[in-house]
């Protein structure tokens, strides 16, 4: 029969064709009209897992009943009956084999070319599977990225809000929208971690439908389950766990909540700040993605709340600082007022003492007892005079800042110095002093203050002089927005150990007998320059080598 099949061609061609047929990797079979095997090649034997002796003459469907599936049978019968070629793939279960079937009508019946395409199919299938997995991963990745983007976008918004109450409102608002929840609220943990103490839990609600839920009764069952928990709680259908609806009670009507999602807000220090709660009346409304969104928002809310709290503390500190500064300023002002009125009011009784003593002195003149009473009267007069000087200086000190109203004027320091030198003319003449100066600037301030600075520093230089005539030189130099004035002398100098003392009120380094004065001149200078934000210091000095005092005043 095989010979018959080949004999249609020329003998040589027939032998050749048969040879090719025999050795081809495809299984080739020729069946008659009754589906009996007429010919099989070597590959067909391999595929059928039996030698050709057992195949030839046997009915195809009998040998391979598993192949007898409706589509395969139908297609092959179609080819046999209607004489048209067909091609299909079929999975042959017993051999776990994918077969590509090419069927052609033959004069004897039907010719089958079968090819094992199992590997190909498997590869295709695998590809399909991994493609699916890839798509799934991609989707998950995109979802994750969307979640991250959402969380990234709300981070700055939350961090910018420094009012804790508004912050929580934004958190609830954002999370409610992101999860599609119908209700969102926050239970502030009032220092207790036990669900039993729900009365201490505060509640705030926002969101599109927030009004509906205002005044949630916190004793509701569902909160017991969520508030104590330390992690995220997600439930798709509360009706399965809670006894009966409504599961969520509100003052303005009872709204059932079936899906819930709750997450704790824990500060960096580990303190439970409160809990976010989201609800929906539908079931299974919250996904794993919603869970990660809410977790992320809760983490950001924790940071933002910490931030807001720190800000609040910083602000409190600042307010407190401002308040105490203001207090200090007022106290200073009060002290000034006191010093002024006290010294002013002290002048009157002192004048009375002084004048009375002088009258008494006059009345006692020429009397026998005058010699005995004179030293006492002298003491009273001396005491009164000293006291008068002190009071006068104290008054000057208080006045140094008391009368500072009105705008600053452009003060020519050269002209001011000239006026001061005129004031001190008699003492300059007495001591034979030489006062020189470099070019001095025009400066914006109260003229009396600059005059007082010059007057006090120059008269000190005149007072604390050595045997030789005083030489005093004034200069001014611009230094980073400040004018630094310096007054240099060739006087007795100051031991550096006492450099910081000299600016103290009523501080003196010498006895009154050596150098008269109340020790207020430099204190007044300090008060004046500090009023302009400047400072005064002893630039350099050594006993017997003179001193240089400097003070700074703002350029503008």
């Amino acid at each position: 029969m095989a010979a018959d099949f080949a004999s249609r061609a020329t003998p040589i061609e027939g032998v050749r064709a048969l040879e090719i047929l025999e050795n081809t990797s495809d299984a080739v079979a020729l069946l008659d009209h009754a589906w009996r095997y007429l010919y099989v090649n070597r590959s067909a034997e391999t595929m059928a897992r039996m030698p050709r002796e057992r195949l030839l003459g046997q009915v195809f469907w009998d040998l391979f009943p598993a192949f007898d599936t409706p589509p395969a049978r139908e297609r092959l019968e179609h080819t046999l009956r209607d004489r048209t070629a067909t091609r299909f793939e079929e999975y042959y279960t017993p051999f776990d084999l994918w077969v590509e079937v090419n069927a052609y009508p033959a004069p004897e019946g039907i010719a089958l070319l079968l090819r094992d395409v199992t590997d190909q199919k498997r590869a295709e299938h695998g590809l399909h599977k991994s493609e699916e997995r890839y798509q799934r991963l991609l989707a998950r990745e995109q979802e994750g990225r969307k979640t991250a983007e959402l969380l990234n976008s709300i981070g700055p918004i939350l961090l910018a809000e420094l009012d804790p109450h508004k912050l929580i409102e934004s958190v609830i608002d954002v999370a409610t929208r992101a999860t599609g929840a119908e209700v969102g609220c926050f239970f502030r943990d009032a220092g207790t971690h036990h669900a039993e103490n729900l009365a201490e839990v505060q509640c705030a609600i926002t969101g599109a439908r927030g009004e509906t839920f205002s005044g949630i009764e916190a004793e509701n069952e569902i909160f017991r389950g969520t508030i104590g928990a330390s992690g995220v709680t997600r439930c798709g259908d509360l009706s399965k766990t809670a006894a009966e609806p409504p599961y969520f009670t509100a003052a303005s009507g009872r709204v059932p909540v079936r899906s819930i999602l709750a997450a704790p807000i824990v500060s960096r220090s580990g303190e439970m700040l409160g809990r976010l709660f989201f609800g929906h009346s539908g079931k299974d409304r919250f996904s794993r993605r919603h869970e990660s969104i809410v977790t992320g928002i809760a983490a950001q809310a924790a940071i933002a709340l910490d931030h807001a709290r720190l800000f609040e503390q910083a602000q409190w500190v600042q307010t407190e600082l401002k308040r105490s500064n203001e207090e200090l300023r007022r106290a200073n002002k009060d002290l000034e007022t006191f010093a002024y009125s006290a010294s002013h009011d002290l002048q009157e009784p002192l004048r009375n003492i002084s004048l009375s003593a002088q009258l008494l002195d006059r009345a006692l003149q020429g009397r026998d007892t005058a010699k005995e009473t004179e030293p006492f009267l002298e003491a009273i007069l001396n005491g009164a005079r000293r006291m008068e000087n002190l009071v006068r200086d104290l008054l000057a000190y208080a006045r140094a800042t008391q009368f500072n109203a009105g705008p600053y004027a452009d003060v020519d320091a050269n002209a001011t110095l000239a006026a001061v030198l005129l004031n001190l003319k008699s003492r300059i003449d007495q001591t034979g002093a030489q006062v020189t100066s470099g070019d001095l600037p025009v400066i914006s301030m109260h003229q009396v203050h600059l005059a007082q600075l010059f007057q006090n520093l120059i008269s000190n230089a005149l007072k604390y002089r050595r045997e030789e005539p005083p030489r005093i030189h004034l200069t001014a130099a611009r230094q980073q927005g400040w004018w630094v004035f310096s007054v240099a002398d060739n006087g007795i100098g100051i031991d550096p150990r006492y450099a910081s003392q000299v600016f103290g009120l009523f501080k003196r380094l010498h006895t009154r007998e050596e150098y008269p004065g109340s020790g207020i001149g430099l204190a007044i200078c300090q008060r004046i320059v500090e009023q302009y934000g400047g400072r005064i210091w002893l630039e350099r000095s050594a006993p017997g080598e003179g001193s240089v005092f400097s003070f700074s005043l703002p350029e503008r």
């Binding site: 009157e348 009375n352 002084s354 009375s356 009258l359």
Partner: protein, 130 residues
């Protein structure tokens, strides 16, 4: 003469200064503005020595009141005060005070008040006689 000063010691000193300078006029002394105006209802002095910083009614108000009372309008008033403020000096000038004397610490300087008072009284007497 009327002396208005709430400081008893100052009043004592002023009286002593005037007395020791030879003034023999009667010096009535009151210690607040209200008492001064009360006293001036039935007493027209040759001169008034008026402190500014007074209880109840201030020296400047007393001065203004005096200038509005017909029999008193021409009485010379010498302001004797511890205030050295330009504002007080200006106000005293506006109400036509005869002199403004700032109380000094020194007795010798205080004595010059006698000269001022003497000058004013002398001028007033001259004006009357001529």
């Amino acid at each position: 003469m009327l002396l208005v000063d709430d400081n008893r010691t100052d009043a004592l000193i002023i009286r002593e200064v005037l007395k020791s300078s030879g003034f023999e006029l009667e010096i009535r002394t009151v210690s607040d503005g209200a008492a001064a105006l009360e006293c001036l209802n039935d007493f027209i002095p040759a001169l008034i020595l008026l402190d500014l910083n007074l209880p109840k009614i201030s020296g400047l108000e007393v001065l203004r009141e005096i200038r509005q009372r017909d029999p008193l309008a021409g009485v010379p008033v010498v302001i004797v005060t511890s205030s050295n403020s330009a504002r007080d000096r200006q106000a005293a000038r506006e109400f036509n005070a005869a002199a403004y004397f700032c109380k000094p610490d020194n007795l010798a300087e205080f004595m010059s008040l006698a000269g001022i008072v003497g000058g004013i009284l002398g001028a007033a007497a001259e004006g009357e006689t001529s």
